[in-house]
Symmetry: C2
Subunit: 196 residues, 2 copies
DNA sequence: GATTTTTACGCACGCACGTTCTTATTTTCA
DNA sequence: TGAAAATAAGAACGTGCGTGCGTAAAAATC
């Protein structure tokens, strides 16, 4: 790996944290440069524009999510075990104390939802991919006979998403220690409902 | 009502919209003044600081939510009818096409969740009040015999919250037309599960 | 209608933003 | 090792930010 690539990774690693706390707009080139002891222009030249930096952060977030949530889950047998594994890994992702501000997607979604531009387009793409993956995983549980035949996999994906978003909010905003229990209980009810 | 109060209301009305779209940080005094054809300093003098403006917007959001969601719901008989009415009014709140950026609370929650300061404190207060109200409403359904005796009202509040957050995201970010149906189905499942 | 109080403006300030150049330094590779 | 290429720094730009102050206009009060 060249020097440039290494620096770029170091920048993005920090940018990922800053964007989770302060949002993709709050993510500022000057502050980022200070924290990394780089010059503004030196940092800037790695991306060419702030928008590109934002896009790179979203891309990084997606690949980390895949790495930390989806890939481990795929080691579990398809169907319910894998679906449950996604849920548990996702909990770890949301509760990770190293990422202040909570799930970076929650930040980005609220920030970009009714705007225009490449960052939004990229985010929509990642979220659609995620929803598809969740639905597919739920559908596999149907196919394996773990869920009822008439289970609507996309509906299950919708509801799981809701559980995770609420977990994030209860934990980060309300500082509710019981949030994880609540999420687990909600998930249990979701699974139970669709179990034949 | 004095002239000053009228102007202040006019400012907040617009600020409410801007904050929903661009967030409480993206809410900017200069842009707000331009839209309202006021001078920056003239507008500023109504609040004394940007932070106070942000707090005023959160307060306005809460009172509007109470007015548009909770108060109408209280006309329904307590128990399940009222609980269902909260849900339906809340849908209207989230789907309101006059508010670009979707539910302003979704914005504010993501923005302020791991920060410090008065805006955050005020937001936490409003969200705790909301959660309490939801839980109380669910508890009334238990008391009236519409929900099972062992139903955990706060758990129901948690899950309802999740449905609404997901409705907001699917609608605003993913532009999914079926989001309302999904929300209704999730709600139906929630109610059904707790029905004796 | 005169006076006092309220409300709004104009201007300026210091600061941080994203961005663009030019220049110096470091890496890379023949 | 020396030439070429990649990387980082530095200084400067225009812009917009929140904020403070003195003053003019308007409204409220008597």
């Amino acid at each position: 790996m060249s020097k440039g690539e290494a620096t770029r990774e170091r920048i993005l690693d920090r940018a990922f944290l800053m964007a989770g706390r302060d949002g993709l707009d709050g993510l500022t080139i000057g502050a980022l440069a200070d924290e990394l002891k780089l010059s503004k222009s030196g940092l800037f030249s790695h991306f060419g524009s702030k928008e590109e930096l934002q896009v790179a952060v979203i891309d990084l977030a997606e690949s980390r999510f895949t790495e930390l949530v989806m890939l481990p889950a795929f080691k579990a047998p398809r169907g319910l075990p894998r679906f449950e594994r996604i849920f548990e890994q996702w909990i770890d992702w949301v509760m990770d104390t190293r990422t202040p501000g909570g799930c970076i997607f929650a930040q980005a979604i609220a920030e970009l939802d009714d705007r225009q531009g490449r960052p939004r387009d990229v985010l929509v793409q990642t979220q659609e991919t995620l929803v598809d993956a969740l639905a597919k995983s739920a559908q596999l549980a149907v196919d394996e006979g773990h869920f009822k035949k008439d289970t609507d996999a996309r509906q299950v994906a919708f509801e799981l998403h809701g559980i995770m978003m609420t977990l994030n909010m209860y934990t980060r905003l309300l500082k509710d220690r019981r949030a994880v229990d609540r999420a687990r209980q909600a998930f249990k009810r979701l699974v139970q409902f669709h179990t034949p």
